[in-house]
Amino acid sequence: MMRRTIPTLIAVALLGFYLFPIYWMYATSFKTLTEAVQYPPTLWPSEPQFHHAEVFQKFSVARYFVNSIVITLGVTAITVVVGTGTAYALALRRNLFVDLILFTILLLQALPASLMVTPLFVLFNMAGLLNTPRFAVVLAVAAKSLPFFIVICRTAFLQIPRELRDAALVDGNSNVGVFFNIALPLARNSIVVTAVLIAIQTMGEYVYSRSFIAKIELQPLTLGLSNFIGAQQTDWIGIMTFASILVTPILIVFIFLQRRIISGLTAGALK
């Protein structure tokens, strides 16, 4: 019994220590200003305060939220619509051509957004796309998440037995029919989870939004946080409250889908 509980306790302690910053963000967001800056700091807020509603209303968090959601939905939609079929087609067989495409996709996945943002900015500017800056961000971020999506969903399609496809073809299904009637339903869960993972990442996107969206009315939550910091430099309670408004929905989704997100990530990275 002891042999099995002691490692569990150590693991819980390690995890608690590791995730302390997330706890500290929430703890600070519930403190009063005097308590937050007092030395020595208190580990638990002595008189918990809710600043969240106030910050939410005063700093137009709702508007930033809507922009984040618009961008996230756009990126996720483009990625899933464009990427799913490609992932399927690349899982059907293995030859030099497929290897070459996979290599290119992995290369594209590695290109840092902060380096691609310069040429994209100039190109989008020339094409007039910066007049619709949220759309420009969607296009750029989708190009970044598409390779990632293809790599992970391909491993899901690879698990569908060949015989199933062959049998459907013999039964008179066309290639198109096999994709929509057999492959898509079987890979549906993986597609949904990967899409959620991409949505989570897009909610936290910063580089492209910061570089493309000058109008405050169109900026997402991450930029809302940075505007807030610009205006309230040392209001750490406000900053932690704002940060927690951004982080909480992401953490909730993660906790619900933890197992599936992890298996998706590990399958994609090494295969």
């Binding site: 569990t8 995730l19 059907l92 940060a243 990530l265």
Partner: protein, 300 residues
């Protein structure tokens, strides 16, 4: 030639359309900008001619200006330190944790998965949390370290030029460890248990088993992971923007942030794209190592 024929014969038009969709999209928004970037790095690009196609070519002038910048070598050194130190520490930390979680105890895989909660939070937001924790006078980090008598007075982790780079590296390691932990765990669980049992019967101790079985069998996975970790660290922008913005006086600046600053803060877009081109070459080399390593892993 045979392969080319096979490829035409056994590929349906439908598959080509499916692949073509992504190919066109990625060409438009990744491939073409990549090439366009190289072109821009040989041009004079500023706010006045940003909208026109016809821009003066300046040869290698942008590259010369970058190399002549007094901070060039500082930023190169910072980038190397940031990437190398991050990769080594993430690997070591992730490996140690993965070995710990390989023990059979209640809740092991569930608790291991929860580490990812940090990795999944937006870098810019969690960077602000760290900035608050690392604040010199009111930060909790200094309080802990002082209580443990590791430091005597407040340490200014982010505004001390000799510490800023190491501090952002530390936070980046913290952020990356869960990713390593998970992927190393996958690799470890693929090693057959009976290898260890046989070695134990032969009298090999834990260290010998680790060096004789675990390390050699994990070699390709680890190489792939180091490359992948380096790629992720080279993409790190949000943490730097949140913590130091490259300062004080470039002491924590790295190439991927510098390139962005040149383009979007001082509007020297030609210079920004020259730095970007140099860094993208590095990324392409590392990514090729990663792909090669994952290939050989599958073959093994």
């Amino acid at each position: 030639m045979n392969r080319a024929l096979d490829f035409v014969r056994d590929r349906s038009g439908f598959e080509m359309i499916l692949i073509g969709l992504s190919a066109v999209y990625l060409f438009l928004f990744a491939g073409a900008p990549f090439v366009f970037n190289v072109l821009m790095s040989f041009q004079k690009v500023d706010l006045f001619n940003i909208a026109s196609i016809d821009r003066p070519f300046v040869g290698f002038a942008n590259y010369q200006k970058i190399l002549a910048n007094p901070d060039f070598w500082l930023i190169v050194r910072n980038t190397v330190v940031f990437v190398a130190l991050s990769s080594v520490c993430q690997l070591a930390g992730g490996f140690a944790l993965a070995l710990f979680f390989m023990q059979d105890f209640a809740g092991a895989s569930w608790l291991r998965g929860l580490f990812l909660a940090a990795w999944i939070t937006p870098g810019y937001a969690i960077g602000q949390v760290w900035k608050w924790m690392l604040a010199g006078d009111t930060g909790i980090a200094n309080y802990f370290l002082r209580s443990l008598h590791i430091i005597d007075g407040p340490v200014y982790w982010l505004s001390d030029p000799s510490l800023a780079l190491l501090t952002i590296t530390f936070v980046n390691v913290w952020l990356g460890i869960p990713f390593y932990l998970l992927l190393i765990s996958v690799g470890l669980s693929a090693i057959p248990r009976d290898l260890y049992e046989a070695a134990e019967l032969d009298g090999a101790n834990a260290v010998q088993r680790f060096c004789g079985i675990t390390l050699p069998l994990m070699r390709d996975t680890l190489l792939a992971l180091v490359a992948l970790g380096a790629i992720l660290t080279l993409q790190q922008f949000d943490l730097i923007a949140a913590l130091t913005a490259g300062g004080p006086v470039n002491s924590s600046n790295v190439a991927q942030f510098w390139s962005w600053q040149l383009s979007f803060q001082s509007y020297q877009i030609g210079l920004g794209s020259a730095v970007s081109v140099l860094m993208l070459l590095v990324v392409v080399v590392i990514a090729s190592i990663y792909v090669a390593a994952t290939r050989s892993e599958r073959a093994a």
